[in-house]
């Protein structure tokens, strides 16, 4: 945009001219803008319209891309609810926008630079007003310099400052002997021995001393363990061809892992009756997710091993981890994430360990077009984490494996929590809890709230 930006005729210094990208639908807003033209309503020339058939076509990533290339504000506009030329495209868009805004807020984007409107083909005047307002407001705010910027260390209120002598012990390597067998561990081994011997299953996917194990012979069940190091979510192995090739699996799950099975079935990735689910009652393994866990007892397993006496925690506590982050001003939040993402090396451990990331060709590996740059730069890293978090909206079951796996120590669970909170507060939706629930994205309700849409 910079080359073609025209200087004013007089000798005044060049004023800041906002760059505004608008994604509009063909049938309503585009025609509304046409009407503004036919009516000769004047407005500032800073908007560049990208015409799409329907707001339903607008992927959130386009908004991110617009900012990446230097837009100072982004406008998304389409048909009023009920008027969509394609009946419901704008309802789908609206639902995505509600969720995406929450993610952008958690990341510290300047929400005053992102605008959503409904403008019909008859509303030429509204188009004029909206463009005038956005241009003026953006002009006053100035260029969007804070995007992906770090500005000093961001400390969370109350969090430990980086110190020089960390009182930290490394995680013990799990090659040695594990804790002595508990009753639950014994029962687990007996159950698996029986399942294999009776050929009810061909392979047991379970926890071993060092990590996940795949037991195919009854005598090998001694390799199975059940202790407070059984952190992994084994549901991720159900997407791997080499393991499915071994035959009908039994899978050991905790209550948190089990929710992944519900989502995977809903998304046609597995059929419940093709797997045998061994649920383990779990009192908690000392992780942050355990403090807010409500599924200490698996609910859809074929059998549950172990007992417990844990109560579910107060609902309000679930989002406590977000409080410090959301208490920061937006620019500080962005600085925090920019600092965190600077360490990201794009190892994709977060993706590989997640049961919900099962696409054979991940979008980051697609380069025509390059939607997400694979490089570990600010742009590439923000785009990747935004993409992954949003693709998990309504699907992330909170197993926190991504955070555990991250080799750069990035607190990815904060992003997942912000979207889980959005899903619950806006749509009363919790991933993996109700096998009969519709998906969150891909469905819509006429009641979806739109108080942010002009």
């Amino acid at each position: 945009m910079s080359e073609n930006h025209a200087a004013p005729a007089s000798g005044r210094p060049v004023e800041f001219e906002p760059k505004i990208v608008a994604f509009v639908c063909n049938w309503c807003t585009y025609l509304g803008a046409d009407l503004a033209g036919t009516t000769r309503l004047e407005y500032p020339p800073n908007v560049r319209i990208i015409r799409l058939p329907c707001t339903g076509r607008i992927d959130f990533n386009l908004i991110v891309k617009a900012f990446e290339i230097g837009a100072d504000s982004v406008l998304v506009s389409g048909c009023h609810p009920g008027d969509c030329h394609y009946t419901s495209g704008n309802y789908h868009a609206r639902r995505r926008w509600i969720l995406f805004r929450e993610l952008l807020q958690a990341l510290g984007f300047d929400m005053e630079r992102i605008h959503f409107t409904w403008i019909s083909a008859a509303e030429g005047h509204k188009w004029q007003e909206v463009v005038k307002e956005i241009t003026e407001k953006t002009r006053q705010k100035g260029p969007y310099k804070e995007l992906y910027q770090r500005n000093g260390e961001v400390a969370f209120p109350g969090s430990p400052r980086p110190s020089t002598t960390p009182a930290v012990t490394p995680e013990p390597l799990r090659t040695g002997a594990s804790e002595p067998s508990s009753a639950a561990e014994q029962e687990l081994r007996d159950t698996c021995r029986r399942l294999l011997a009776e050929e009810k299953v061909k392979v047991v996917i379970g926890y071993g001393k060092r990590g996940p194990v795949f037991i195919t012979k009854p005598e090998d069940v001694e390799k199975l363990v059940w202790n407070d190091e059984c952190l992994a979510n084994l549901a991720v192995y159900l997407k791997r061809k080499e393991i499915r090739a071994l035959g009908r699996p039994a899978i050991v799950v905790k209550g948190c892992d089990e929710r992944a099975l519900v989502v995977l079935e809903k998304e046609s990735q597995l059929e419940r009756k093709e797997i045998h689910v061994i649920g383990m009652a779990c009192q908690g393994l000392g992780e942050p997710k355990c403090e807010i866990c409500e599924v200490h007892l698996p609910r859809i397993a074929d059998e549950v091993i172990g007992q417990l006496d844990k109560q579910a925690p107060d609902t309000a506590e679930r989002w406590k981890a977000l409080e410090s982050l959301m208490a920061l001003p937006a620019a500080q939040r962005m600085s925090y994430w920019a600092t965190e993402f600077e360490r990201c090396v794009k190892c994709y451990a977060c993706r590989q360990v997640c049961p919900m990331c099962y696409c054979e060709r991940c979008l980051v590996d697609k380069n025509r077009p390059t939607v997400i740059e694979p490089s570990a730069t600010d742009k590439g890293n923000f785009a990747w984490h935004i993409l992954r978090a949003f693709h998990l909206a309504g699907r992330c079951i909170g197993c926190d494996e991504c955070t555990r796996a991250c080799s750069a120590g990035i607190d990815l669970r904060l992003l997942n929590l912000s979207l889980a909170k959005a899903a619950e507060e806006h749509f009363a939706y919790r991933a993996g809890m109700d096998p009969k629930a519709e998906p969150l994205i891909g469905a819509y309700s006429l009641q979806d709230k739109e108080n942010f849409i002009r």
């Binding site: 945009m1 503004a36 789908h92 868009a93 998906p439």
Partner: protein, 666 residues
Amino acid sequence: MSRIGVFICWCGENIARTVDVDEVTRQVAEFPGVRCAVNYKYMCSDPGQAIVRDKIVSERLDSVVVASCSPHMHLRTFRSAASLAGLNPYRVEMANIREHCSWVHPNRAQATAKAVQLIRLSVEKARRDHELEPIRVPVTRRALVIGGGVAGIQAALDIANSGYEVVMVEREPSIGGKMAGLSETFPTLDCSQCILTPRMVEVGQHPKIKLYSYSEVETVSGYVGNFNVTIRQKARYVDIKRCTGCGECWNVCPLKRNPSEFDYAMGMRPAIYVPFPQAVPARPVIDAKVCAKIIRNGCGLCLKKCKAEAINFKDQDKLVEEKVGAVVIATGYKLYNIGKIQDRPKLEGYGEYGYGKYKNVIDSLQFERLLSASGPTVGELKRPSDGAQPKSVVFLCCVGSRDNAKGLPYCSKICCMYTAKHAMLYKHKVHDGQAHVFYMDIRAGGKGYEEFVRRAIEQDGAQYYRGRVSKITEENGKLIVRGTDTLAGEPVTIEADMVVLANAMRPADGVEQLAQKFNVGYDEYGFLLESHPKLRPVETASAGVYICGACQAPKDIPESVAQASAAASKVLITFSASELTREPEIAKVNEDTCAACFTCTHACPYHAIEQAEVRTPRGVFIKRTARVNPGLCMGCGTCVAVCPSKSADLEGFTEQQIYSMVESLV
């Protein structure tokens, strides 16, 4: 490397006055891949189009960008021009530098700079356009008409008379709809049945119309040109092919006093009955809810009497499959229920009018039956309570209409006219009677309508009060109607023998479920949604499905008939091509990368995406995939946005194109 041609239009002065077209041409020529950039005064004119065609040939262009007005104006024009020159029409893009630029930005420098950028966007898009061919879909040249009222009848006859088969499905035992029950119609005071029944007979006897009466549409699948419809034929317990209509059965039926649906409970009918004498088909149906034989295996007199052996108590619902290529929905209306029990949370009844409490407070359709020469009172006006002739009748307009508080906010359009008609017909029957009409406004916009209303007032002496009625009570056999006359500025109380309420028109019951089966939208009142209220009033969001009559919005008979013919003409357009061609700017799924999560299937507004399998040529299963049905997809792109792997893409608005456009704005 691309060979793009850019053609910049002056549009006379419209663009050139504000945008420096020569400067634009100069800058655009520098864009990568642009082979030629020219400008001309009127690109859409014949010489302008000739320039485009010539350049396509001489410069061997592979895409064209026309920078001029909105694509909504001339995209088709330029696509045709390109086609004539041998360039695939879907490699033509337009940049809107008029409505979005020259007409709204007075500063020449700014408008010129913006025009260059807008053209840049279109150049990037055109660079990545694919060559597309229109999609060809076979057509079953049979139509389905749902609803046998006057609109459905008109549409069916128009289509059948053009030589195509029509399947008509009517829910009631007879076609005819509400019009069959009316007495005389405005503004001509034609006898309703006299003008309708010949049409009904024509439908019943038409060689090209297959009538399923007492039937409903059960399921629908498929798409324009290729619908598969399952119809449920409800059990009549009478074989209409054997039955001769002799009437012995209903004469002998001992259960004679069942409220007649056709007479809106103003009259009675037996358990085995023909709804009205002119019914088509003129064959009886047994009401299984009251028939003694069906309920407790008693009676059976009709079976004994029937010489044609047409009665079959073992009858059951039948499901029939029909294949059609187009559908017309003409399901008509019902009246707003005045009582307390409503079917929507925001509606309340008008209990203050005493409908259902006082026998002599009736609604407009009931009044029609009392007026009708073939009605339960044989054309004599007898009030329901005691059969006496009412000497004073009060008519209330806008009962349930135009009421934001507890009714429906819209105007039901026909009530002013039929209330005037009621007042006139009443006077014609009861010469010494007095009609009182309480109204809010008089809406008489049709041909001859205003004159009609004046006749009711000036010739037939109807007394009109501009005001509403607050309450109706009964004292000493008289209905006390308390209203107001706002023009005189005082309350009015009338002692009436009868009160007729003009209830709001609402869509028929069950229309929402029917609409969902066809993917047709409906508004909050249940009226079916047209594609565009002004320019496409009979088409819907679903290709091949059309609507007409009161199911779309309140309207009278002339309008219903006109719309029915309009819908029929749309059907005939669909049938006129040897193949249906559809715009190819639709979605497709890359089956190699599809993760088969089927979020797209769930999200598609047209149910156009199926769950499919990829197999080797020998049939070995490889993987599951989503697959778009090119006959159904309307090209909204919702599937693309929800696809996590972006295996779904939209021709004409591909990911490549949109991202390239955004990136060109750096």
